[in-house]
Structure formats: C-alpha cells, structure tokens
Symmetry: C2
Subunit: 248 residues, 2 copies
Amino acid sequence: MSQQRHGSTPGHGAGAVPAFPDLPEATIARLPEYLRALHNLGETGADTVSSEGLAAAAGVNSAKLRKDLSHLGSYGTRGVGYDVTLLIEQIEYVLGLDQRRAVCLVGLGNLGHALAGYDGFASRGFKIVALFDADESKVGEIIHGLPVRHISDLGRVAVEEKIAIGVIATPAGAAQAVADVLVDAGVTSILNFAPCVLSVPSNVDVRKVDLAIELQILSFHEHRKASLTALPGGRSATTAGDQEAVGS
Amino acid sequence: MSQQRHGSTPGHGAGAVPAFPDLPEATIARLPEYLRALHNLGETGADTVSSEGLAAAAGVNSAKLRKDLSHLGSYGTRGVGYDVTLLIEQIEYVLGLDQRRAVCLVGLGNLGHALAGYDGFASRGFKIVALFDADESKVGEIIHGLPVRHISDLGRVAVEEKIAIGVIATPAGAAQAVADVLVDAGVTSILNFAPCVLSVPSNVDVRKVDLAIELQILSFHEHRKASLTALPGGRSATTAGDQEAVGS
DNA sequence: CGCGATTTGTGCACGCCTTCACAAGCGCCT
DNA sequence: AGGCGCTTGTGAAGGCGTGCACAAATCGCG
C-alpha cells in the first residue's frame, strides 16, 4: 500500500484510505465544472461561496450542487457557505488531479495538432508527454515543443513515462488499432475523438467526443424549432413557452 | 406554413407535418451514432440490419436501440430487420440533416483552426460558411478556403447566409460576448468549446464541449482504479470484477 | 397452406437522477 | 445569553431511462 498519495488529503482529519463512497457517475461529470467555477471565484478574491452562488456559476440547480457535494463528505458551513480553497482542494483530490497525469496523444492531423497546443490541458493538471503518428513523414516534427514519434514506439514510451491516459485523434479507420496498442501499453483511460466505437477490456475507460454528433443534436433542435414555429402561425420565437435545456 | 421541407419525408406515406412525437433527449443523442453505424454498414453493401447487428455497430444494447427506433415510428420488418437505406433517410430527416445547415465559427486560435478544417462536419451535412475573429491581424487570412472576417461583421453575415448554428472556439473570457452577438444575429443553436457557462435566452440551445473536463473525468476513474488496486494486495488489474462503462 | 424460425415492437419493473421542501446547524446581532 | 436569519445537508417523491422478457408479425420452406 501507500503507493502514491503524498498525503494531500485536505482536511479530512483521521481519514482512512477508502476515499470513494462510490460517487454517482452524474455527479462525477459535474465536479470538473464546479472546480472551474471555484477557480474563477477564487481569482475574484471570494473566500466563501453559497451553494446558490456556486450553482449559478456552474450553470446548475443549487439543490443538485448541494447533493453532489454532500456525496463527497462535504465541507460547507451552514449559514455561511463553502470555503473556496478547501473545496477546490477537496474536489481536486477526488478527481485525482493532485498528481499531474501524463497523457499521450495519437494522431496529429488537424485536430491532433490543435489538441497538442491546447492550453486547457496543462492548466488543469494534465501534461501531454508524447505525440505519436503512423505517418513517417510527420515523425521528428516538433509540435508545440514535443517531437512526433512513430506509433511503433508507443509501447516502450508509454511504460517509461507511466502514461495512463491516451487521446486518440486519428481517422476512424485507425482508431481501433491504436486503441489496441494503447491498451497493450498499459493505458487504462482513453479519450476518443475518432467517430467510431472502440472495443476495449472492461478495466479500460473510454470517453468519446464526436464533434459532428454535437452538431447533429443541435440540428435536430433546429429542425424541431422550425417545425414548431411553422405550424401555429408565424410566431416570432421570442415568446417564452419553449423551455429547453440541452444536457451535456 | 410550408416554409422549407422540400417533401423529403421518406416512406412515411400519408404523413402529416407533425414529425416529432417528442423524442426523449437520450434517444436524440444516440441517433447520430446509429446514423454513422448505418452509413458504415451501407458501404459494406449490407441491405438490411438486425437490431442486434446495428446495436453492436453503434455500441449499445439491442433493446435500447429498438426502443429508440420505435420512438420515431420505426420502419423495421419483423423477422428481417431494418432496411438500411430507409432507416438512414428516416434518421436524417428527423435530425433535420436533409437540409444542409449553415454554420459559422468564431475564434480561430488553435482549436478554431482545427475545427475549420475538420472533415467530419462537411461529410455529415454541415457547411461552415463563415469564420470570425476579434483579432484584426487574423482578419483576411484564408483558412481552409474561407476568409476570416472581423466579428463586427457577424450580425450582417449571419442574416445574409441564414446561419442558424454558431460554434464558439474563443477563450473563455470572450465567449459570453460572442454568444450575445450570435443570439442577436438570430442564431438559435450554439456549440460552445469555451470553458464557461453561457447565458442565453430559453429559445436558444447550447451544447458544451469541454476537452479538459473529459480528461478530468477519466482522471477520476484512474484515481479510483489506483486506489482500488492499492488496497487489496497487488492485484494485477487484468482480473475481472471491475465492470465499468463510462457513458457518453 | 401451415408451421417453425427469426426478429421487431413494447409492457413492465427496477434503479438512477433530479427536485422539492424542510429540519438541523452556524454565526451574528442585540 | 438568547434569538433570528441564513445556509447546508438530506429524506421523500416523482420522472426518466434502461433492460428484460414476451407477444405479435413476417418470411421461407415443406
């Protein structure tokens, strides 16, 4: 035991190691949003936040936020609110962001290129430590300070650099093969930008981001809105009566 | 009435205009995935698919798929399966993809640059018709065949080109202002890549894609997996007993 | 023409998530 | 010290989504 975890459990007092009262998946997905809102609030000099205030900043219902925070053994004070700094530390700990995680990126086309230079990764606890591509002509090229390596080196480098998270930004046709290589290299989390389903062992987590799908969902709502306004005489659409909240 | 809708309601026979038995949001989010899988199947020459086959290709449960399709008045044949071509047309109609939708992109930094050249948009019914940025030094630059315009032109161009969908790829600080401009220009759907919450009228749909959040969610699962394998003696992690399916 | 194999469409039960509403707790002011 | 207002934390209810299991329907073959 005591593998990593350089005692940064904030507050928690006589906390044992367990750490996870199995948070609901929906809560986990919102924690990063709370974290971002908290950082913003912290920069404005706020010391404490009410659930109402934080909820507004994160774009959710205040009851939902309180329940989410209560799941992680919340550290708020009744009548006052949440201590911003403490809550940041707490969420970062739960999300495992106190240890900077090594990420590798495979596929340096249009999208991969942009991801390699995306500030949001570094600023939120992630470091891209290696770039890979199958195209020999790209190997050796320096992109945002990192050299592109050939994908055949992935296995070795992944072990050396203790890479646990891989990002796939290849064309769909190559994605499954890349995923297989990543899994073989011990990567247990994959963020997939390729428009295809990946088949991986059950101990590997995959999250998929498909930019076109997001647009198609919006397209549906456009279609629906158009057919609604077309039917009941030409309403000018500024009227209410059309509540819609597209979830993430 | 009869604004657009150049009678491409496939099959549907004596269908009236209604078109939407208010599909569940969860179903809508999966339709694009089915569509992609269907296109793949179509290219392999398949004529019909069983729910089992299509579900596998889309990475979902077959019962879920059948229920989803049934919501849109499904066009399958018992004992046979679904006609690939017919189903494609049906889903594309529901998603409103039969009419090529004009999209504009605001913010041409790293990410915006990549999005401007992303093939997946054009190949799936969307056309980026205008690029905008606030940086004067970028205005006039040609990116992937389109000139960058200054954001002050957005209002005029959006109306001219009948733009209904806007993509925001600016820094977080500028996103709300851009959203306001988009809304004023009549845009009713926004895809937001900036890490912040947008405040828009209720008739405007916003979908958010935050790349760092996806990584943070994966980080949590890494953290959890690490703390699990750390406790019960050094298990090699290849053992089962750890079912995990990260939803989209 | 009837029967069996196959596959869709769906009623139902279960579980997760959201939301409301309120009791419990904390600080501040008098 | 006591009371009041404010805010958290949570029990309970309702809604939504998922998945099972089966009836209904269609095709092909004898």
